[in-house]
Amino acid sequence: MSVTLVEQRYRSVLRVLPAYYRAEREDEMVEAFLHGVPEDVRDEARPSTGEVVSVLALAVRTRLGGAGAPARYAVLGEAVRLFALLGVLLQAATVLSQRALSLAWFSGAATLDRQVALGAFGGGFVSAALQVLAWALPFAWAGAYLALVRDRRRAAARLSAVAALPTLLTLGYQLFSPSYTGPVSDLAVVTALVCWLTVAAVACGFHEDAASTPLPLVPPGLALMGLCVLSGAAGALLPLSLEAYGVSGAAVIAVGAGALVVRVLRSGSSSAALPLALAALGASVLAVWATVLPVASQPGLPAAVAVGWPAETAVLSLLVLALAFTGVRDARRTLASVRRQRGGGVEGKIADR
């Protein structure tokens, strides 16, 4: 039987699926798909958008620990979900503590300072409305965190997208507003990327078929409260630290170091997902910091910037490397253990068949 154009096109679409899944399902899916395409149009038709989207959604599920996925994709799925959960937690803690600090400052500030601060919300109705949105929408990170710990997946994805919207407003303003004359800032670009990466991790990692992923080690409420205190303290006590930019690095350092200590104390088998997720989270903080770090090399700056910023960056970099190393090593051990249990069988058969 000759291969028609529509079959070629459908098989190209199926390449987004992981190899283990294609080996098991590709021919069967092609058969089911072609059955629904009239023979007289098979050399000109294309798979509909709906069919392509359904395969893309299946690709996300199968790569991120869907039903019966092999161990490597199960670990990857758990790592993405933990990255999403911790990322949303960190964003929530950062925004709550930053807004609380700014309100505390505002309530005790001199009248002139207050007028200057409120001046940022001026410049016409549209500008003021955008400023208010940029100030208020990130509170949705806290709602997204609440939704995630209650396993309300769609609500969490929507709320985190709402919370990340101001990053696009900032970029849009820098790109298109005639009143902004400078170049688009690297900080705005990287912050937007990190926020939307978190949104994507929530939307994709917590797909319908994903296992529930609770916050490890501590109750979710305590974690949010603790990180708010930590993030707020870092912002209040270290006003010249890198904490002022994006998400709180001090919190990542504390949680990452804590996770490593727990990993060392529990020397037995351990999930690779947590260190991998924390390494990715630390790397995202480093990416934000890297955009402002060149400032530290300018002459005449206080020691808190000239020495403090590179030192803080170095500590976080070392921690990210240690977490990544631990995560990869644990993942390899997990996969080797699965292979041994299967008696050297081919990893990747869809389970329970």
Binding site: D27, M29, A32, G36, R61, T62
Partner: protein, 114 residues
Amino acid sequence: MTQAAFFVLAALVDEPRHGYGILQEVDALSEGDVQLRVGTLYGVLDRLTADGLIALDREEVHQGRLRRYYRILDAGEAALSAEAARMASSARTVSERLAAPRAPGRPGLAGGTA
């Protein structure tokens, strides 16, 4: 249980079916309300298989192409039956509420109050 999983299980009650056969049967059973895409169908089949509700029945080669037939298991029938009973109970409750006599003079949605 999702609506798609409900109709896929229902499609397998009378006989084992292959992928396209399930798509057609779901379309017919739902009177066109549920039109599954192939990618969605296989996501549902993966979940139902992993949960022990359906199983592979047999494989056939038809015009040079692979067809896998799936059959519903006892656990699948039990889950489908429980879900159908739950839906019927909900529908009955709503029907009884609609059929019950209403208090006279109660303002309707369109009327409002002065």
